[in-house]
């Protein structure tokens, strides 16, 4: 089971790299915001997998919850700012 979790962690890191390509060269700024949203979803799952690998899920699940709430507030703030910039 531990070897399988190690492979899952490596594959999730490769997926984060695929999203990072979209963040680095997106044509518009909304592509970059969407890429960051995908990266944060992968990071939430990756934190829980790391907690299962080391046997400390009770600690890592709280970090994951805090990261999810922070991502919600940040992405909504960026979206509202970009929406109001087009219509002054």
């Amino acid at each position: 089971m531990k070897t399988f979790l190690l492979y899952v962690m490596v594959l999730l890191a490769l997926l984060i790299g695929a999203y990072l390509y979209r963040v680095l060269r997106g044509p518009t700024i909304f592509d970059r915001v969407l890429g960051l949203n995908g990266i944060s979803t992968k990071a939430i799952i990756l934190l829980i997998v790391i907690g299962m690998y080391f046997g400390r899920v009770d600690m890592f699940i709280d970090i994951s919850t805090g990261y999810a709430l922070l991502n919600l507030v940040g992405a909504l703030a960026v979206a509202k700012f970009l929406e109001q910039k087009g219509h002054p």
């Binding site: 969407l34 939430i44 799952i45 929406e83 087009g86």
Partner: protein
């Protein structure tokens, strides 16, 4: 119980890989948001269900289900807000050129 959780996690990884391919390959911000929001939600659902099956029945499983409910509120809201801002700031949706 280990076999069932491995099946769920592999199915979730399949959907996450499909979402990553869609994000890299699709032509427009609107279609890319379709790939990110829908497929990513299903993949995260399957992976977190598999992990909570492996953990057994205690308070960590309840916390994983709380994170799952939070992702299901959070992911469509962020996609909707971003796409609404993109449409209001004047980006035209992509259309296939007819030769």
């Amino acid at each position: 119980m280990d076999i069932l959780s491995i099946i769920f996690i592999v199915a979730g990884l399949f959907f996450l890989i499909v979402a990553a391919i869609g994000v890299v390959r699709l032509p427009d911000v609107f279609s890319r948001s379709h790939a990110v929001s829908l497929t990513d939600s299903l993949g995260a659902f399957l992976m977190l269900i598999g992990m909570s099956l492996h953990e057994g029945l205690d308070k960590n499983t309840l916390k994983i289900l709380v994170v799952l409910a939070l992702l299901y509120i959070l992911n469509p809201v962020i996609a909707h807000a971003t796409i609404r801002a993109a449409l209001r700031s004047g980006i035209k949706p992509w259309k296939k050129e007819t030769p």
